[in-house]
């Protein structure tokens, strides 16, 4: 229907100091609710150690979800995250095997591989106008193929470099480094989205690409860069995960695609693009991490966790995830 969308929501960028919008507030409300429910089970749930531990576990998802958010804000999706994560982990570990120079360049090399992968996605979406769902799927398949061929289908023998381990598992003054890394990533994302022309362009393209183009925004370049960033951040997440676990593993990224999308969407970012802020994504990541943690602490069997996990996401989406407009 073409009546004016007078009830269109007003939120558009990260001026959250002046206004906290409903989805973000709901997500934080749910976090508190989860903690309270958990604390009925065991008072440990409210201890600083437990909370810090959750932030640390959530940091990996947080870094990956940051990239996913950029792409979702454009109204696109990146289904190549699983193998971008694995690619980053494997390539960084592989570089480590090449002596001291390799160790130094392990992290940048892993991230660079992810950026290249994202670049292919970005070129496909921006310049060839292939639907993102398809091109990222295909690129994911190619990356998987490359990695399977490279490792021979077994878990790679290379292990993570000391720097990777330090970044993922070390602490500074009791604060896990992973949390610091996520905080820095988040701060950069907030700055990028709120204070730069690039960020404005992302929101603009997500809202109406034609209008953004007619305003003189280099829409194709922005889309390409956003995908490259998403690939790079996913690979960085993989690098951290490899550092945390000591080494890379086949299909270690599979467990991150759906939670990353869910975290972004639960944080109030519209899957149609153009609307959402980073604080929401933070809330979404914490929410999902806590949910997974509480379910596992409660020793609920895997099947129950899956069911509750899915059901909670459905209920939360029904609470506030309704789209006002169709495609």
């Amino acid at each position: 229907m073409t009546t004016d969308k007078l009830d269109a929501p007003a939120t558009s960028r990260t001026n959250w100091t002046s206004r906290i919008d409903l989805p973000v507030a709901t997500a934080f409300g749910c976090i508190i609710l989860l903690l309270l429910v958990g604390s009925l089970y065991s008072p440990n749930f409210l201890s600083p150690e437990y909370l810090l531990q959750q932030l640390k576990v959530g940091a990996f998802l947080g870094v990956i979800a940051t990239g996913m958010m950029l792409v979702i804000l454009l109204g696109q999706i990146d289904l190549s995250v699983p193998w971008a994560v694995t690619l980053g982990a494997m390539m960084a570990s592989a570089a480590t095997a090449y002596g001291p120079m390799g160790e130094v360049f392990a992290i940048p090399f892993g991230v660079l591989c992810g950026v290249l992968m994202g670049l292919v996605n970005g070129i496909g979406v921006a310049y060839l106008r292939i639907p993102s769902m398809i091109i990222t799927l295909a690129v994911n398949a190619v990356a998987q193929g490359l990695m399977v061929a490279y490792t021979g289908g077994f878990a790679p023998q290379d292990s993570a470099s000391p720097a990777m381990r330090y970044l993922a598992a070390g602490t500074i003054l009791g604060v896990p480094n992973a949390v610091i890394v996520w905080a820095i990533t988040g701060a950069v994302a907030v700055f990028l989205l709120g204070r730069t022309t690039f960020g404005r362009a992302i929101y603009g393209i997500g809202n109406k690409e034609a209008a953004a183009y007619l305003s003189g925004v280099p829409t194709q370049r922005v889309v390409m860069i956003a995908f490259a960033l998403c690939g790079g951040l996913a690979a960085f997440g993989g690098v951290l995960l490899a550092g945390y676990a000591g080494k890379a593993a086949q299909s270690m990224g599979d467990a991150y695609l759906l939670p990353a999308i869910a975290a972004v969407v639960l944080g109030g970012t519209s899957i149609l693009g153009g609307r959402g802020n980073y604080l929401g994504t933070v809330a979404g990541v914490i929410l999902i991490t806590l949910l997974q943690s509480i379910l596992s602490v409660m020793q609920i069997a895997e099947f129950g966790r899956q069911i509750i996990y899915g059901a909670v996401i459905i209920v939360m989406l029904l609470l506030y995830g309704r789209e006002r407009t169709g495609r």
């Binding site: 007003a10 558009s12 730069t196 022309t197 007619l214 925004v217």
Partner: protein, 509 residues
């Protein structure tokens, strides 16, 4: 003859959208066998009225009577069943389905639960025949048809539903003159068959040719109903806008720099048979109008100048120097300084859910940022200046643009481009669907910008606007400039005659 119970009537109809009272206790009587023209400015409530009649939106209050029985429609389908069929301005055809599929879409012939393709083909052929589209193949996909043919399919689709009340909302706006003749023939026959026709159009001569009764709407209310032909054009216009018409336009001060090199010059532009050799100039301080019927290449010309079209041949000169403009980014750069106020503000001009502030600064990013980082102080200063300059009314700059009235939205689009500081301003029907008050402000602004030295190219579907605003009008027909009207020669008569590209006697009809 006035029969006792009219075919359809509505009483006390009201509808609000957010803060806008679209309809305010409106009433209307429709009789069978008559063509009833609905007049009114955009935003007068006409489209809300017909959306309620055809079941697309539900009224807040009021009642509708069909054959004297109270009715209400939950959906367009329900209205169709009752015999009220609307041909919408925004086409309601489904692009990936065939013409025949579309014509029978709401009630296809079935055999054992399956769609009977043969019967469907026959129905479609018959409906196309009646609608004057016998040349359209029923199996062609709608998306492969040009706009004017789609409009014919739209009419055929309405006829296949056996309407008792047929509503045509700007149904001729995309048609060529020859097609309009065909459609009018069809409509006159339908009238003689006893169908009630509700005809909404901005083209006065069409109404004069077709209508039996006229009703004028203004600000959501019915202002007057009278037999067609009983009022002069000026009287009708006064009813529509509610005040003396001439006062709307600012005086045309001659600010044209005639001696200087034209700021913008186009030579022999061609593009895909839609632009057929257009040459024009625009000087500093000049408002150049583009006239003609809708769809004669005006939109394409503006897009071509702005670098949006690919494969345009010919030359574009800025300040006498030939330039290659390959996109909005090049066009808006300071050395060219071109701005385009696009046709559809909802899809091309604005990001409706985003704030007024974000929308305003979107095109002027390079002016308010350094190294890709936005200078917030410079941004707010520029935004405040623009809000003041155009007197944009809103709750706060953080409010979503979508929550503003149409007129204020259009002001935001214009302000967004003025922030860039353009020297060449292209406007594509900038006052469509906005209230007279805002129109007046926009006209004054255009003259002011011209006086400050901008070259302005204004395409408008409203002849009065061209007459009231422009120093010069180029009338386009079939992608070429048919006539150039200067100063006092710009009259409604001259505009219509050259727009239809036929001799004067026919044009006045």
């Amino acid at each position: 003859m006035v029969d006792a119970v009219p075919l359809f009537r509505m009483e006390g109809m009201s509808k609000r959208y957010g803060g806008v009272q679209a309809l305010d206790k409106a009433d209307l009587i429709v009789r069978s066998g008559k063509v009833h023209a609905i007049l009114g400015e955009n935003g007068a409530g006409k489209s809300t009225l017909i959306k309620i009649m055809s079941g697309v939106v539900a009224p807040d209050e009021g009642r509708m009577l069909l054959d004297g029985q109270e009715v209400s429609f939950a959906s367009p389908a329900a209205a169709n069943v009752a015999g009220i069929v609307c041909i919408f301005q925004e086409l309601s055809l489904i692009p990936d389905l065939s013409v025949a599929d579309n014509i029978v879409i709401s009630n296809p012939p079935t055999w054992l639960g399956m769609i009977d393709r043969k019967a469907q083909h026959a129905i479609a052929m018959e409906a196309l025949q009646r609608a004057g589209g016998a040349d359209i193949h029923p199996m062609e996909l709608v998306k492969n048809l040009p706009l004017s043919r789609r409009q014919i399919v739209e009419i055929a689709k309405a006829l296949a539903r056996k309407p008792r009340v047929l509503i045509l909302d700007e149904a001729t706006s995309a048609l060529t003159a020859a097609d309009v003749e065909t459609v009018f023939g069809v409509l006159k026959r339908l009238r003689s068959e006893g169908i009630a026709l509700l005809y909404i159009s901005h083209r006065m001569h069409e109404i004069a040719e077709l209508a039996d009764d006229c009703t004028v709407f203004r600000n959501g209310r019915r202002i007057a109903t009278y037999p067609a032909g009983s009022k002069t054009g000026d009287e009708v216009v006064e009813l529509m806008i509610g005040r003396e018409y001439s006062s709307v336009f600012p005086p045309k001060l001659d600010t044209v720099h005639r001696s200087a090199t034209p700021v913008l010059e186009a030579r022999d532009l061609h593009w895909m048979q839609r632009l057929n050799g257009i040459s024009l100039t625009a000087r500093a301080g000049e408002v150049v109008g583009l006239g003609g019927l809708d769809g004669q290449g005006q939109r394409e010309l503006l897009l071509a100048l702005f670098g949006v079209l690919r494969g345009v041949s010919g030359a574009v000169l800025v300040d006498g120097v030939q330039r290659v403009i390959n996109g909005p980014r090049t066009a808006k750069a300071p050395d060219i300084g071109m701005a385009l106020i696009p046709e559809d503000r909802k899809t091309e001009g604005l990001m409706l859910p985003m704030s007024v502030r974000d929308n305003l600064s979107f095109a002027a990013m390079s002016q308010i940022s350094r190294g890709g980082i936005i200078d917030r102080r410079a941004e707010s200063a520029a935004i405040d200046r623009m809000i003041k300059l155009l007197a944009i009314k809103m709750a706060s700059p953080a409010a979503a643009v979508g929550s503003l009235s149409g007129g204020n939205q259009q002001k935001v689009v214009i302000a967004k481009w003025l922030m860039v500081g353009p020297r060449i301003i292209l406007l594509n029907d900038p006052t469509r669907g906005i209230d007279v008050g805002t129109k007046q402000e926009i006209y004054a602004l255009l003259r002011k910008l011209a006086a400050e030295g901008a070259a302005i190219i204004l395409y408008s579907t409203d002849y009065d606007e061209l007459i009231g605003c422009c120093d010069r009008v180029l009338v386009l027909y079939d992608g070429a400039i048919k006539r150039e009207l200067v100063g006092p020669d710009i009259t409604e008569h001259a505009l219509i005659a050259s727009a239809l590209n036929i001799d004067h006697k026919e044009a006045v009809a």
